[in-house]
Assembly symmetry: C3
């Protein structure tokens, strides 16, 4: 995953344009996504697909003729969606078009102006402060013309038409944690799920430009979203911080309980936050007209790490260990969703005689057998069609994994059947 | 308000009689209330309007012929509803008719005997202890004859027939906090509401003798009470103590949440108590046959200040600042009730494009704009017809005022409509 | 009760056999229970009544010819349900058939092998460690033959067909707290209830062998269990420890609230535990096909006292004081269930005039009168058909007893009627 982050890092991405298309192409090489295109001017709910943005060069030369800024060095230098310009201007005239972040004075900030035409450059605060008076040559060779918006989508069918949706944004240029980490993680997660022996649910992975991309996807899939049973927006999963989960708008969806259960049992510190209508594409998925059961799982949340939206969010900031740990948690979440069935005890009047079936103190070593036996008693007692395995795990305090295995044994013995 | 308290203070009030009629007359001079009269003997639910009580003189002369007690000095001296007496009695015979409060030995206590015929005098414990043996001349020139019970009522119509009820008792003689403070506050609050440009709700103000008065009002308005959406009993709002709110019997009525919200955001200490069937006229309004959504708002609750029901509860005990602060809180409560609408987002699928409408980072100064923008996102996200503005305030942690203003802006922009 | 425990202590009990039959006979002498018998081989849900077990002798002689173990000394010495054996074996061959408890090295443990044919002896760990090499003569003269399973049952009719069920196990041999304490307590409780002047509910007492006995009772009474409104499994109520209540599977049944209320108001420490599917016969009564409103009340819970399932659980371990205290709590629980009616205020609009009925500050001494008056106001306010007396006790913080008496007074006055 870290190599994939590094490979994608230099590409200039935005909400439209060749760089985003190239990024989706690299994902397609790995997991065979479909790359959709939607023409500029298409109406998507209250919004409209903007003109496509592409750039060939962007630089500033100083009074001495030195090239002070070149977006080839770091594509954050260019205000994202900058309109073209070719002019010689005084420092005074230039300054309103220059953006720096005094809180991170050595680093280039990331700025955009998607829906208001403007041109500009981003630079370190140190560089800004050292600019001399004089005339500056400013060149942006960009185009803003009718084209397309692209997004990637992979559907992995399962036994049921009910879907689990994973979504991540692909519109940030050279930023690693926000959000090449999410792109890499979903690519590898999809690969694992594609290779799984069986899938109870169908899985859908969408790689979209932020905001306009998820709005576009929702507008084009409006009739299909009712199939989504669970979902996660994935972002900032490559830094070494602890996990933070932001709940769905519903707050008590199964995905909310599953993620909290997995994080609680991980033994590591973690944070749970209530839904708020600010953040990533959960803003759209959880808008009141959809209200999908979908939260957002990150390590350090957006805006809470100093490297956020600066050139310090580079491949050195995300670590292979953090990415691997994130993939593990996502796999555990998928596993828990898959296994979280609701059972009915087929012998509901009094306990069945476990001894006669060889199930009483006869599984594995003694301590484990005791635990397995308790797991059987809990499942048999609560399996009345109203409790999921997660409900049973939470009420009994027993591990979800053990309960899942014991439920399989009881099902094989004809003592249990799943109703959901 | 403090001048009005002082003006009304010397009048002898009771559950019936000329003093109470005079008090209602002074209120009428200010806000034009109707003064109702209900004849003695009228049945009101389980009760009956008692005979009217009036007094011309009441005094005791000691063994030396000195006038030791005269109700002209302080009308608390006379047991309220005392029957007439004209006798010379020994100290021994007199004592069962004398009432003092050893816990407040310098002050005259307030005692009544409405429904059991008796005569008596109240005096300071010091005075009681210094009475000499000998014969005492005791004179009460009172009348207990068929007459009327009076109460005052003001109806202020609003856009809706749904009503907010404010009720306070007017039967206490020379006591200032309990409850001329309530009389003054409701008089001034009614004046403000009469002068308001628009009123979503209709408002009803009732000034009633305690218990029998509210029972009478309920008996005569039984078919109309279903219109009452919110209400407050007002008592003891002139002392310098913190606010204490006693919830309605329902416990989760909108008025309960609104008052708690206002008190919490006031930044001052406050107390919230659950409903109990003892106190003021909420006992009647919240009886199970009515169960109105009505709590009781006080500063220091009845019985919790040492001056309570003694001659120390005089105009020096209530302060203009406390009365003014109380009026402010009541106005805030009214404002919150008026604004606490429930909205529906008219663009519920994905966020509307705020930028195109000039609503994105474009209101006021920057910090405020950020907050306004968050308020917009919260309202748009939660406005699904199930959340009131107060629900949104509590879930988001944002100020009710800001949300109200932002809701108006979004309504003007056609993005929102109120359904309640 | 303690004498009854001592009387029953020496008898060899098991899930079947003469000793259990004798035990039920002694209970019948006191309270006239029916003793039911169910033939071996009878199917009861997933189980089958086993062969009946009886023993005439069981002993081990050592290499020196000394009788080292004889079940006449203590019937715990014999593995319960041991099959017959008559053999001379080496110490090596003997050891797999010997059971001790190193944690209680001076005491004989209690072991059973009901459903897996085996023979064996239990002995103190000290004795086990001192066994010398050599040949041992081992004799168990037991029979395992078709016979019957017995259980005892007493039905005490009340005004209603709705039943309260008390159940305890009678299958443990010489163990006093677990569970002759329960046998004695239920015998004496039944006696009290038989002698009561009136009973709102009918009462059913069942004395059953653990697990197989309650399963048998449920199988033979399947159509009748819907009448059970409340119930308790009784176990370990003779030790000096505090009470511990294990809730019903429902968790919010009236019995759960009543027991917690009684324990809370007792002023003594106590413990409340959530339901778990391990323990005594509540496992069967609360299986999902029945889910009866029945918890388990003990002093120190099973397995939590060191004497548990050893020869140290003898009549010295249970005390007359603890048994008496337990009976008192059970009587309080019965009293609370009987009195926990739901009332409707027949004068629901405003308070009734209590003074006119002599109910206002006119009962008993002053402080008590104040409390009684508050109890009246609470009942009149909350008696709307949705609150039981226990609900009112919990909301008001007033004692259940006082509320019960005041409810009776108000009912006599025609102000209240019970609807449940």
């Amino acid at each position: 995953m870290h190599r994939f982050v590094s490979e994608l890092f230099p590409i200039l991405r935005s909400i439209t344009g060749q760089g985003t298309r190239d990024t989706l192409g690299r994902i397609r090489e790995r997991i065979g996504i479909d790359i959709h295109e939607v023409p500029s001017g298409t109406k998507v709910f209250d919004w409209e697909i903007p003109d496509e943005w592409n750039v060939s060069e962007a630089w500033i030369e100083g009074p001495d003729g030195d090239r002070l800024i070149d977006f080839r060095d770091n594509n954050l230098h260019l205000l994202n969606y900058s309109e073209p310009v070719d002019a010689t201007v005084s420092l005074e005239e230039l300054k309103p078009h220059l953006f720096s972040n005094p809180a991170m004075p050595d680093h280039i900030p990331y700025r955009t102006s998607y829906y208001k035409r403007d041109w500009g450059f981003c630079l370190s605060h140190h560089q800004l402060e050292n600019l001399k008076d004089g005339n500056y040559r400013v060149v942006v060779r960009s185009s803003l013309e009718p084209g397309v918006l692209n997004y990637g989508e992979l559907f992995v069918p399962g036994e049921s038409e009910e879907e689990v949706l994973f979504s991540t944004h692909v519109c940030h240029p050279s930023l690693a944690n926000d959000n090449l980490s999410g792109v890499a993680l979903l690519t590898f997660l999809a690969d694992r799920i594609l290779k799984a022996d069986r899938r109870r649910f169908s899985y859908r992975f969408v790689f979209v430009p932020g905001t306009i991309g998820s709005i576009t996807w929702l507008a084009r899939n409006e009739s299909r979203v009712a199939r989504i049973q669970h979902g996660l927006v994935v972002a900032c999963v490559g830094d070494p911080g602890h996990f933070h989960y932001k709940k769905s708008r519903r707050g008590t969806a199964e995905i909310d309980r599953v993620v909290e259960h997995i994080l609680r049992r991980s033994g590591e510190p973690y944070g749970i936050r209530d839904f708020s209508p600010y953040g990533y594409d959960e803003r759209q998925y959880c808008s009141p007209g959809f209200n999908l059961p979908l939260g957002c799982l990150s390590r350090t949340p957006h805006g809470k790490f100093p490297e956020y939206h600066t050139s310090a969010d580079n491949p050195d900031f995300v670590t292979p260990v953090a990415l691997e740990g994130s993939l593990l948690r996502f796999m555990e979440i998928v596993e828990c969703l898959e296994q979280n069935r609701t059972y009915v005890n087929l012998n509901p009047k009094c306990e069945p005689q476990l001894g006669r079936r060889g199930l009483y103190r006869m599984m594995g070593g003694y301590a484990d057998a005791q635990e397995d036996q308790m797991a059987m008693l809990w499942i048999l007692n609560l399996a009345d069609g109203s409790n999921s395995l997660l409900d049973i795990a939470e009420r009994s305090g027993m591990g979800f994994d053990r309960l899942g295995k014991v439920a399989d044994t009881l099902t094989e013995q004809g003592l249990l059947t799943s109703v959901r």
